[in-house]
């Protein structure tokens, strides 16, 4: 049975994909080329940086805390070390 964390992770993946279409649409309908952040970063660059770092955080939390294939193997390593 798929755990809650896994289901939430896939919801995140879906939302993350939709972000692309939404942000494309936003960029189509607003003159984003006129916006600069910190004096030099374009709208698309800032959008990209925020997007990457958020995704990095979610992947880090999910894979390190909840992802079963890694988790069960780490537990095995711990068990073996304790046995020694």
């Amino acid at each position: 049975m798929t755990g809650l964390a896994t289901r939430l992770f896939w919801v995140f993946m879906a939302v993350w994909s939709i972000w692309h279409f939404v942000s494309q649409w936003y960029a189509f309908t607003y003159p984003v080329e006129r916006q600069l952040y910190f004096g030099w970063l374009s709208w698309w660059q800032v959008n990209s940086i925020v997007w990457y770092f958020t995704a990095a955080l979610v992947f880090a939390i999910y894979l390190n805390k909840y992802w079963k294939p890694a988790k069960i193997r780490e537990e095995m390593i711990k068990k073996r070390k304790a046995e020694r």
Binding site: E33, S48, A70
Partner: protein, 529 residues
């Protein structure tokens, strides 16, 4: 007139030889660990840990396209459309190395599969599927492969006037030699060295460029905003293509769809299969998703748009922008060092692709033709021989597209970025049904094979006869993938429900048992943790 290999040419040639010797030294050292089996040669014996994985994975993805192609593309076309394209690709790439690729890893470890397509063909209970999928993927791999020696050749030609043929031949020779001697293990370990050189050259040039901007980065950005604001827009409504309305939407849609292919580049599907354990996978996405915006979005894109148009305005060939800035503002030595960084980027990507492509022949086609009755030694030699053939064919294709374009009726040389953006990446997107079949029990061989072939035909027609998509839709500039991918997926699901699913035995092997091994109980006999 002095020969190209004097002055800066001599420095570059010296650095190329030095780098080649180091890389070949690593290759020879690492190859001593090889067990001379197909799994060891193609998948590095499924033994890689997180440190090597980062460099191996990231610098398989970051190729000459990142080094020269991306800054060149945004210099010519603006940054809007390319950023969402590679973001999407990177999201799916980290997924294939972890959550989507876990099944590829499990099958390599538990059942001993040495290529993703041999696994998928067995899952579909069809050997003919293996021939078809391998042949199609070989075509697109060869196209993407052609980009790499082309970038090496152009860079060297622009820098010191070396004959294009020299760059083509030397780059191809070195990467083929690394793969020939040590297979995927050598490729992975040499990527650590090549990747480090790439990073120093790429980030170093950015810093040098910033120090040379007359009014700083904010001054440069203001200048672009006043003179060429379309460089910051999406996708270039006032730039060279002047797309508006539906045409612009269709163009963007084509790019987004080809972004899906990030999880489906066939040579990347080998990466999870090379890993020691899922424990090695868990930090990879974070490392990639933190380093890529710095390398792509901050350095590559800023150099191409904001910095490039101030420090190197009106270049005749956009692909030159990065190398031009490095040489002009960093001096001859730095320019040479940076060129070797691009060389390293190309060689590191080529190595993985060469081994993957050669195994598509030896394991997926040759072994099947012999009905499995061949020894590991025979397959290994088939892999080694075929990789040379592939490198020669791809290099010739790259040469035709860049140097001999007139002979094949092209109006101009093919821009470097287009080898991947327009040609190879949409082709890899067709693999989506293969990945679905790996995770969906109901998927059938008839549905997967037919939809894959139809998708390929539609894509090929769109490549060969450009007005094809316009004839069907009435929309200008619509990439063929926008037609091919939805048709492929609809066919796949419809035919799946009209045909019989795989046998219970196959379902048990690839779903119940494999998933139990991956998610519930690792077998200590199989997996030394």
């Amino acid at each position: 007139m002095a020969e190209w290999y004097t002055g800066q040419g001599g420095i570059i040639l010296g650095l190329i030889i030095l780098m080649s010797l180091v890389v070949l030294g690593i290759t020879l050292y690492v190859s001593r660990k090889s067990k001379k089996t197909v799994q060891d040669y193609v998948l590095a014996g499924s033994s890689l840990g997180i440190f090597v994985l980062y460099f191996y994975g990231a610098f398989t993805i970051m190729s000459a396209w990142t080094f020269y192609g991306l800054p060149g593309w945004v210099y010519a076309n603006g940054q809007g459309i390319i950023i969402p394209w590679y973001m999407f690709i990177h999201l799916f790439q980290v997924s294939i190395v972890t959550i989507l690729g876990i099944k590829l890893w499990g099958a390599a470890k538990y059942y001993g599969y040495s290529t993703p397509l041999s696994l998928i063909a067995d899952r579909l209970e069809s050997q003919s599927a293996q021939y078809i999928f391998s042949a199609v993927n070989l075509i697109f791999l060869a196209i993407y492969l052609a980009l790499q020696p082309a970038a090496i050749a152009i860079g060297l030609n622009v820098l010191v006037g070396a004959p294009l043929e020299f760059g083509f031949i030397y780059g191809a020779l070195l990467s083929a030699l690394i793969a020939f001697i040590g297979g995927m293990r050598s490729v992975a370990y040499t990527n650590v060295f090549l990747g480090a050189w790439f990073l120093i050259a790429f980030v170093g040039t950015f810093i040098i460029a910033l120090l040379n901007l007359p009014n700083g980065l904010t001054g440069a950005a203001q200048q672009i905003l006043e003179t060429k604001p379309w460089l910051f827009s999406n996708p270039d409504p006032f730039g060279p293509a002047k797309l508006t309305g539906t045409d612009r939407l269709a163009y963007a849609l084509g790019y987004i769809l080809s972004g899906f292919s990030g999880a489906l580049w066939i040579h990347l599907m080998y990466v999870p299969m090379t890993l020691r354990s899922p424990v090695a996978m868990k930090w990879y996405p974070t490392l990639q998703l933190i380093s890529f915006p710095i390398i792509f979005t901050i350095v590559g894109v800023t150099i191409g748009t904001t910095v490039g148009h101030v420090l190197a305005p009106n270049l005749p060939r956009a692909d030159q922008v990065f190398q031009y800035i490095a040489t002009q503002y960093g001096g001859i030595w730095w320019g040479s060092f940076v060129y070797i960084g691009a060389f390293a980027a190309a060689v590191s990507t080529m190595g993985t692709m060469v081994v993957a492509a050669a195994s598509l022949w030896s394991v997926d086609i040759y072994k099947c033709l012999k009905k499995g009755k061949c020894t590991d030694k025979e397959i290994l030699w088939q892999t080694r021989i075929f990789l040379w053939i592939l490198v020669i064919v791809s290099t010739f294709f790259g040469w035709l597209a860049i140097v001999g374009w007139k002979y094949i009726g092209l109006p101009a040389p093919v821009p470097l970025a287009d080898f991947l953006n327009f040609l190879a990446s949409p082709g890899f997107a067709l693999n989506v049904v293969l990945l679905i079949a790996l995770y969906w029990k109901r998927a059938t061989k008839e549905a997967t094979i037919i939809s894959f072939i139809v998708g390929f035909i539609l894509l090929a027609v769109g490549y060969v006869y450009q007005p094809f998509t316009y004839m069907l839709t009435g929309i200008k500039g619509l990439p063929a993938l926008v037609i091919a991918l939805p048709v492929e997926l609809i066919l796949f699901f419809v035919i799946t429900y009209l045909t019989k699913p795989a046998s219970d035995q196959t379902i048990a092997k690839f779903f119940d048992q494999l998933e139990k091994y991956i998610y519930e109980s690792p077998d200590p006999q199989v997996e030394k943790i």
